[in-house]
Amino acid sequence: MTHAESKELLLDFAYGELQAQIAAEVEAHLASCDECRAEKQQLESVRKAFAPIRESEEPGLGFDERILAAARAEAQLEHDGNIGEVVEVAASVAPSGLDAARVNAHAASVAPPARRRPKWMTRAALGGSVAAAAALALLVSTSVTTNRERQTAAPVSIFAIHVAPQSAPPMPEASKGTALAGKDTALVQAPPPPAAPAAPIQVAEPAPDVRRRALVAAKKRARAIDEGSGGDVPNPAELALRGALAENESKAQAGGGVRAAASDGAAEPARDQPVAAAPESEAPSDKDVAITNSRVRSKEVAGAAAAAPPPQTMAPGLAEAAPKPENPGELERRAEAARHAGNYALAAGLYREAASGWENDSSAAAWDLAHAIECLAAAGSFDEARKVRDQLGKSYPAESTAFSAARRALREVDSNSPTK
């Protein structure tokens, strides 16, 4: 075997992909060739050093169940076009392994024998009706969405809160999945009449304290939902609720005061007018949006200024840079410089300021907020960091990667502190 041939086959040789006879030829060449031996030696050193990455990682609990539920539903649909029993995949309901396989006369010939599950885990067979098909489609497509899709999906379903304000109160865990999924089917197929016992909807400018309370309550509820559902498999109604809450909050925050959650007990109607639930009429005009943006921005800047440390602690060269409004890219660069200088509080302020400067780039804004959170955490300002994290989650629900980074920055703190 020539040197070139051998050299070409070194990788295959090292990974044992060669037939025995060819491997022996390479080996013979190696014995006489310093260059090839050196190359093989390097390869082996790198492989040895990287051995720890071969260790296996396991996804979190509940991973299998989410996928298996989809797999069963799909198999059933393909097999006989019917739904037998529908496996609801709420976090509290964890059909495990083969126990969750369904009993079906048709499928019995191929599926391993399945045991009956308790009634609350299953829903009765729906036959081949249209409703059943719709329900299945929903289950398959929404009960197993990824985190990212889950968040982008939310705003689309805002109407759910308008038509069903009473859906907010948490239900008993066991019944939740079934009940909400059922309702959701109804929502998708036929939006209920708008004149549903219209809870008072706040319009115009509610008193500030009402707004604040509504905001707090909305946040609380969003959190309750997050925790209640286990965060793994939200059902569509929850998604809708979350989206609606996020929407409400951003409006309330901005002082536009379009409306607060109608079902919110904490929000006492101040100057309320009963308004038939008609989402379109509530959409803020362009002007409203503009106001919203500018207010949010000035708030951000104020927050940034507050978070910045006194001037004397600034690194030289940063202190003289006047804090006049700048383009966000420039702010990011300054923030980065501050971060590298270890001046995390200043960096956090600058990142937040930069975040509010990205008009059309929610990804950039979200990442700046995430960086601000990391810096705040580095500076030990955990409360502030959590606030910004919540803001990030609400303002940019689609930016799950940025949100993950933010959550990571706070993970250790959160897991050690009893008051999350």
Binding site: A38, S56, P59, Q76
Partner: protein, 210 residues
């Protein structure tokens, strides 16, 4: 004689309505796939998202699947394409979390929770090293990183990697050589393995182009 059904037999059974067959497939491939994604992305949460998405695409695509390629090839083709999409979405400078470049060497990009350990002392050692190694992996261009991880961690043969990436086998191996060279340099820079640093070869001996 082996009673184990092959992946391909299992997916065929699943196509005929045997949900239990899919469960076996999931059990078999869950960890390798998830580990591949964790190493590619350096982020367990994103890896779990993409692993879930990969299996869901298998579920959706099972009926249309034709047994021309191995199941594993199909699985990793989907996962790898999802990785490519994901990194296209995130601009590079933003995917790298800040604390990865921080002054201290805290493991930031990936959890340092060890997986299966046999020897506790070695386990602790590798748990300490893994974040550094992960960082070195993330420093590679994605097309080199995926080849290295598929071969070294997942154990996919070069020929199959070529099928997954839809490039020829020589391209795969060439990327592998660049990856090894890049990782070797990263190790030296990080001072991880003195053994390698000490063995700095004669300048005439170069990895890379054959």
């Amino acid at each position: 004689m082996s009673l184990e059904r092959t992946d391909e037999e299992l997916i065929a059974a699943y196509r005929h309505g045997d949900a239990g067959a899919f469960e076996l497939l999931l059990r078999r491939h869950r960890a390798p796939l998830f580990t591949f994604l964790v190493r590619m992305l350096g982020d367990k949460e994103r890896a779990e998202d993409l692993a879930q998405e990969t299996f869901l695409r298998i579920v959706k695509g099972a009926q249309a699947w034709e047994q021309r390629a191995r199941f594993q090839t199909w699985l990793f083709t989907i996962a790898r394409n999802l990785c490519v999409d994901a990194s296209r979405r995130d601009r590079f400078r933003r995917t790298e979390s800040l604390d990865a470049q921080g002054p201290d060497d805290e493991p930031a990009m990936v959890d340092s929770v060890p997986g299966h350990e046999i020897d506790p002392a070695r386990g602790a050692q590798s748990a300490r090293l893994r974040p550094l190694l992960q960082k070195a992996l993330l420093g590679l261009p994605p097309e080199q990183r995926e080849v290295f991880i598929l071969r070294e961690q997942t154990g996919v043969a070069f020929k199959e990697i070529a099928e997954i990436l839809v490039v020829n086998e020589n391209t795969v191996k060439s990327r592998m050589r660049y990856a090894i060279e890049g990782l070797r340099k990263a190790l030296i820079a990080a001072g991880i393995d003195a053994d390698i640093a000490a063995d700095e070869p004669d300048p005439a001996v170069r990895l890379g182009r054959a």
